[in-house]
Symmetry: C2
């Protein structure tokens, strides 16, 4: 049986790129969950006949909501260097671009390495109960989420926008680059926690750096990931949020940043 | 007299975009300092006849070194929404693309706001002596840098990649979006501090979120900015670094992230 994630990220080759389809299981408030779109882009780049190496960096700008149905991604291989490869891409639904972005693939070499930031001090995933997102957030039903702090059980305004949680695909699925890309967008808008309520909000631009080597992805398998997300500055209708995604074994698999639009009717 | 920064970021309109020129004062080891390229892109976007609002997000991917001489930027206005505008751009030097990226401009509205991360605990800029970058880093001569920690006076390997410094254009120049973009790339590769030596290293992709409103830029004027930069994970020939740029008055003006390539001959 095909995993719902693979159904949602499925591609067919067309002239100059690939065609994808929105999937009802990954619906968001307006249009699809941005993470599944990012994941599908990563899958398309990996499926490109000239692709070399593995995803290193992805930036996707969400210019307009994607409508239900098919969407097309056009990929340009901008430049292939010895150890990295640069792409640009454009997502179109017939009447104009709805998203665009850039990506870099890289060849991973053995070098000195270190992880400078500390793995958060938390218990094992099994120590925390599953706390789902609210019923109306359709896409989140595809993730098993066990919050240490900062769930969507919001009880008024708070000073911290931090969420720390164990999460993985539901049902569990071996981690790959598309799934990792999707998970880097699985942290709901930080402004909900700060304001203690839901607000109209949407990602404008998402950037993810893939630190995980293919070996590290294989080591992770379908186990829980630890995610931690935080906002730095909120104001003038926009905020940034950054997050880290760790493997259960302590490997920092991805770091991610996004800038988000919000409306604040209370202001 | 024209400030050297304005000389370096100068543009002339050409069909479909603008022409810029590398400037010897902003030379880096190979090609120009990435910050001045990013700054010139921001200036070009602002000069675009259809531009609306102010810079909110910029991602620039450096695909190949820019050669000395002219370079051309082609700008596409992908979509203009009510409160934001999406751009893509391509930098070309005649024989192929050397850089590409995306940008979002936004209209800033009055909303609830908060800065969640703390301004670093440091003294006034005048409390720290000016510590320049090494003589051979040409571009850095255009910045006055007063380090609190993490200067390039490197004394062996260390566990922290953090630099905290007061800095501003030299000679001092009123802050604008292009100058702010440039400063978000003025943090040398974090791997130098960790390894205690210079290594071949270069930015692959830089993303900057502009939190500053035009009013906040004006409030900053030509005063010192506080910058703090850090790497999260180093490995497989790549690392990420993120930085915050604060106004002297405590306003968080920009947050920025980049992924950097490095070679480590010691490994």
């Amino acid at each position: 049986m095909t995993h719902v994630f693979d159904e949602a990220a499925a591609l067919e080759p067309i002239d100059g790129g690939f065609r994808a389809h929105t999937h009802p299981a990954y619906n968001n408030m307006v249009g699809p969950f941005g993470g599944i779109t990012a994941a599908t882009v990563v899958a398309a780049l990996q499926a490109h006949p000239e692709a070399q190496g593995h995803p290193l960096s992805l930036t996707i700008n969400y210019a307009a909501p994607i409508g239900n149905g098919p969407w097309d991604i056009a990929i340009t291989v901008l430049r292939t260097n010895r150890t990295n490869q640069h792409f640009t891409f454009l997502i179109d639904q017939g009447d104009g671009a709805v998203a665009s972005g850039t990506a870099v693939f890289g060849t991973r070499r053995d070098t000195w390495g270190a992880t400078e930031i500390a793995f958060p001090q938390v218990g094992a995933p099994e120590d925390y109960p599953e706390v789902p997102f609210p019923e109306f957030i359709e896409w989140a039903k595809n993730y098993e989420t066990r919050f240490i702090e900062g769930s969507l059980d919001i009880e008024g305004e708070q000073d911290s926008s931090v969420s720390t949680l164990w999460l993985r695909d539901k049902p569990a699925r071996p981690l790959d680059y598309p799934a990792l890309a999707s998970i880097t967008d699985a942290f709901f808008p930080r402004v909900f926690l700060r304001r203690g309520t839901y607000l109209p909000a949407g990602t404008i631009s998402l950037t993810t750096y893939f630190h995980a080597s293919p070996t590290e992805l294989a080591e992770q398998g379908d186990d829980y990931l630890l995610g931690q997300a935080r906002g730095a500055r909120f104001g003038h209708g926009h905020f940034d949020q950054y997050a880290q995604v760790w493997g259960r074994n302590g490997a920092l698999l991805a770091t991610t940043h996004q800038i988000v639009y919000y409306k604040d009717p209370k202001a």
